[in-house]
Symmetry: C2
Subunit: 147 residues, 2 copies
DNA sequence: GGCTATTAAATTGTATACAATCTATTTGCT
DNA sequence: AGCAAATAGATTGTATACAATTTAATAGCC
C-alpha cells in the first residue's frame, strides 16, 4: 500500500473497529433501555453474573477499564440497588463489589438480549464466533504492548 | 451455545470489538500527542485530507458521528487553526468544513503514524487488511438495520 | 405564493473514557 | 519497628458519544 493509501480512512483497521463498536452499542441501546441499563453497566453486570464478589481492580482487568471510569459507574449501580460496594476487611485498599438480590435477578431478563441481537443483525453465531476469536487475538496483542 | 454461555463476557463479539477499539485508541495516543490531536480529531482530518471542503453532514456520514459530537470537535479544530467552518451560500442549513494551510500541512507529519502502529502492534499488513474487511462487512450489516 | 414536512446544525443533558494526580493502605526491606 | 516503594481507589480535568430537542432554512405540495 502506498504512503497515501495508508492514511485513507477506509483502509484503517482501527477505524473499522471503532465505528463498529459504536454501531453495536447503538444496537444494544433499545434492548438495554428496557432493563434500565447502559452498555457499560450491562457488561459490568455480565462479569458479576459470572463471578460475584470481586474487587474493583479485578473488574477493571476483565473490562479493560480503570477506576476513573468504574468508580462513578459502580456508585450509580449501587444507587440503583443492583450491587454493594464494601471495603475489603483483609485489605482496606480494595473495594469488593457484590450483587444484591435485585442485581442477581436481573440476569433472567438479560438472557434474551444476545439472541435478539444476532437475529436483528443477521450475523450467524458461527461467523460471529470466528470473528470474535480473531478480534480477541488482536486485543491481546495490542494490550500487551510495553508502553 | 447454551443460555448461560451467551451471557459470558468472553463469548461476546460486541465486547471484543469494544475493548479492542479502546486499546487501539490508547496505542494511538502517544503518537497523536506529538501532533497535538486526539483520535477523533485525527480521523476527522483523515477524511478532510482525502477530500477537502465537506459539509458537517457528509463528514458525519463518513465518521458515523452526529452533529452533537462533531460541532464541538470542529469548533475546537477551528480554534486550533486547522480548519474553517463557513455556512454554505447555496444552502444556509449546511456548514462547509475546509482545511487551512496549517491543517493541510499536518498531513505530512501524520503519514508515519499507521506504519509505526503496525510495527508496534506486531500485526502484519496482510492480516490487518483481512480483518478490516471482515469488520467493515459487519459494520455495514449492523449499520443498515432499520431501527 | 403560502403552508407543511423535511433537513442540517446546534444545543442540552447524561454517561462514559482516560490521563494525571491524590490519598490511604499495605508490602518489602533493613 | 520504621520507612520507602508499591498498590487500590477516588478525584480532577478534558474529550468524546449520543439521545432528544430546538432553531433556522429549504423543499414539496396545493
Amino acid at each position: 500500500m502506498d504512503t497515501d493509501s495508508v492514511l485513507k480512512l477506509d483502509n484503517q483497521l482501527c477505524f473499522a473497529v471503532y465505528a463498529c463498536s459504536r454501531e453495536f452499542t447503538k444496537l444494544y441501546h433499545p434492548l438495554l433501555k428496557e432493563l434500565g441499563l447502559t452498555y457499560t453497566q450491562y457488561i459490568t453486570l455480565l462479569v458479576l453474573w459470572e463471578e460475584d464478589r470481586m474487587s474493583v481492580k479485578k473488574l477493571g482487568e476483565r473490562l479493560y477499564l480503570d477506576s476513573g471510569t468504574l468508580t462513578p459507574l459502580l456508585k450509580k449501580l449501587e444507587n440503583m440497588g443492583l450491587l454493594t460496594r464494601v471495603r475489603d476487611k483483609q485489605d482496606e485498599r480494595s473495594v469488593i463489589i457484590a450483587l444484591t438480590e435485585q442485581g442477581a435477578r436481573l440476569k433472567e431478563r438479560a438472557i434474551e438480549i444476545p439472541e435478539k441481537l444476532f437475529c436483528q443483525a443477521g450475523i450467524s453465531p458461527k461467523e460471529a464466533e470466528a470473528l470474535r476469536a480473531q478480534i480477541t487475538d488482536m486485543l491481546k496483542k495490542v494490550q500487551k504492548l510495553p508502553l
